[in-house]
Every structure is written in C-alpha cells, then in structure tokens.
C-alpha cells in the first residue's frame, strides 16, 4: 500500500448488527449487504480517524491467527470492495470527529 488510507462509512446507509453479522442497506439503491466477522470489525472501526494499518494492527491482527502483512492485504482488498459499492469511502487523510463524510474520496 503506497499511501495510508482512512476508511469512513457512508452516511447514506443503514446498519445493524444481527448475531455478530453486520447488515448494511444502501439508501441509494436499497441493496442489502451482510458483513462477516472480519469485515464487521473493519466497518465498526471505519470512522475516518484511523488508517487501515492502524485498524489492522489494533483490531484485526490480534484476533486472527494470520501474518500482519497478509491481514493488511486482505483488509485493504475488503475495504476496496466495500468502497466499490459506495458504502465505505477511503480518504487520503484522517477525518476529524464530527466532520461530514462527503469530503475528498480516493476511490471515485
């Protein structure tokens, strides 16, 4: 990964955790997604303040029996997949608390 990416959730989605799985509904086209355990961890941490590396180091790597580099690669792939559906955005800079999630996006 050449530059750090800071994931943040779209405000145009609905979400709720159901039995460990995160349900996400996109308001733009009513598409429903469900996220597995790892993706749910990423989703819950994606508030724009932490980079993917920081999220993997703090939340994902300690919980799974996998090498850090592999965990980071998988997480970045996952983040890009969520971003391709417009439910997660990836910023090149951290976003402060309370800022609107409509700023610059590197995944457009």
């Amino acid at each position: 990964m050449s530059q750090s990416l800071y994931p943040y959730r779209s405000t145009q989605i609905a979400s709720r955790k159901l039995g460990g799985e995160m349900m996400i509904m996109s308001a733009s086209d009513s598409t429903l997604f469900t996220l597995n355990e790892t993706a749910t961890i990423l989703w819950e941490a994606a508030d724009g303040s932490a980079s993917l590396e920081e999220i993997v180091a703090a939340k994902i790597f300690p919980q799974f029996d996998v090498e850090y580099e592999k965990a980071l690669d998988d997480t970045e792939t996952l983040a890009q997949q969520l971003a391709s559906h417009g439910i997660l955005f990836l910023a090149s800079e951290p976003k402060g608390p309370g800022r609107a999630c409509s700023g610059e996006r590197v995944n457009q």
Binding site: T11, A14, R16, K17, L18, G19, S30, L32, F33, T34
Partner: protein, 368 residues
Amino acid sequence: MSALLEEMSEKALQLGVPLSVQLDLTYRCNERCVHCYLEHDDHGEMTTVEIKSLLRELADAGVFILTLSGGEIMLRKDFFDILERARQLTFCIKLKTNAILIGEREAERIKSLGVESIQVSIYSHRPEVHDSITKVPGSLHRSIHAIRFLKARGLKLIIANVLMAQNRQDYRGVRALAAELGVDCTLDPTVTPKMDGDRSILRLGADHATLREVFREEGLVRSTTDFCAPAPKADDGVLDSLPCSAGHNACYVSPYGDVYPCVQFPLPSGNVRRAPFLDIWRHSEQLNEVRSIRLRDLPSCSQCVHASGCTRCPGLAYMEGNMRGPSIQDCEKSFARTGIPSVNLLSRAAQVPRLVQIQGLKTAAAAA
C-alpha cells in the same frame, strides 16, 4: 423481499430480534380518507424526548427497519428532529405519508437524511375520485407534485393504492400514473376495521367480482394460473409454520407508546411509557401467546382447503373476535382467487336461515 433479507428475517426470528418496527408518530391527519381505521384526535402523543428515548431502545433491541407512519407524519413539528435522530442511530427508514406537505425543501431534507423509501397513498389517477376518498380537494395534485420532487432527488417512491368499491375502475390508471412517474406501485385489496373494532367501513371494500378481476390481472400477479390455482394440501411443514411475522420479528408502536404485534393486530401488549421496550418484546404475555400459535392450532383454518395458500391475517382474525379463528376478508380473497369456498365460508352459508316460501297462504286466508 430479497433472498438476503429473507435470510436475515429468519435469523432475527431464531434470535428473537425485532428486525422491523412500525412507529406511528401521530394519528392526526390532514386528510380524512373514507376507509381510514384511525381516530384522529390527539390523546397524548409521545413527546420528542420520549420518542428519541424509544429510538435508542429500539436500536439497542436490534431493530433495523423502522417505518415511520401515522396519521400524517409531516404534521409533527418535530418530524425532522425525530428523523435525524433515527438516522444517527442508523435505522433503515421507510416513510409512509400522503406527501401533501412535502415541498422542495422537505424533499431535499429527506434525501440528505438517507431515507430508504417513501410510500405515498394514491387511490386514483383521477382527482375527482382520489379527492373524494381523501375528502381534501386538490390532494391528488399535491401528492403527485411531492412525488415528483422526491423522485427528482433520487429517492425510492412507492405508490400505495387501496382497492375499494369507490375506486375499483382506477387501479390500472394508478399503475399507469406510477409508470409515468417512474415509481413502484402496490395494490392492497383489504379495508381494515377501525382500531376500536368498528367494522362499518368494511362495506367500502371491493366486491367479489372486483377481487376476481384483479386477481386475474396480468402484471399484478406473476402468473395468474399459479396465483389462482388451488393450494396444495397442507403438510406438517405448513401446519407447523408461523401464521405471519407479527410479534415474531416485527411489531408496532402507537403514538401513545402502546405496543401491538402489528398495526393491523391491535392486541395491547404493553406500553413503552411504563416499561422498557425490550422487556415488553421479550416478556409480554400477549406477544408470547401470539408467538405460540402455529397453523395447526387454528381449529377452522388448519382444516381448510386453502390452509397452505391463504393470506390469513391473524390481526384481522383478532378484530373479528378470535386470533385463532379465520379472517372473513381473507376467506373471501381465497374464494375470489381460486373459486373454491373456504371452510369458514361454507360454515357461514350453512348457518344462514333458508328463506321459506309460504305456499297456500292466499288459499288459507280466503278460507278464513
């Protein structure tokens, strides 16, 4: 329902999670629809603070789909305050409205808050018919304007039409209007009794011939042959199934905080002003009774030829006097669909006193 949503509904059912809740914000309304089941006076609606507190409880209980309805939701001065809080809590929001108070500014606000869909009641494409049902002159025009504002902002719109005797000629026109506006359209053939039990408005419903006609309308049903075919014999799987999702993974909360299994099933099950929502959801005797009922527990319906294909609504049955009994409206729908009378209809027919033709009366009178 998408396969994934169905899967989530099943999971919610197993976990005992209320996946979907309808919350009526008010019973007040700016229309006076002839078939409406509500009484519109305000008897002490929940305050903004109470509703926001309830929203937190609903989110914590796992509610995902939150339908905000009424009455007319836009009559609440705090509507956008409530909606904003609901979206902060990441509910999937569906709105039900007549939309006549929605202008461009309101449409913009609804869009910015990420609402999933908006259902607007339209009873006819002809103003003279629609407005005579709502009793508000100009209401069709205003509702259609609002639909255009909302649609132009990329929102998902659904026109909801209730089939009645008064508008039975117009369901095709409403579908054509929906197509022209680029929105979805539903047709509900059920007029619901008033929540206080008054059944007088049922006389407004569509008659047998109209039901027969719409159930055979290409485009309304996927396959008329399949839709109108007699139901297969109910096996153990069907007999052990749940009559519907009311009280299982869905429920309804009134503007006064009353919890019911469904908006169409007014069985008082608790009040969120007196007990936490989750306590009511988990421990209400009434909800647990509803949850205990399987199709095989319905004395009449389990024996009926329509058992495996009927749309029986337990709420309508409850309003008829017995939540384990049949719902005459659904019996009539099954009959109109298949041409086969239900056990309930046959039983009622047998109970109607036969007309006795009195013969020889004239002769007897003359003899006297």
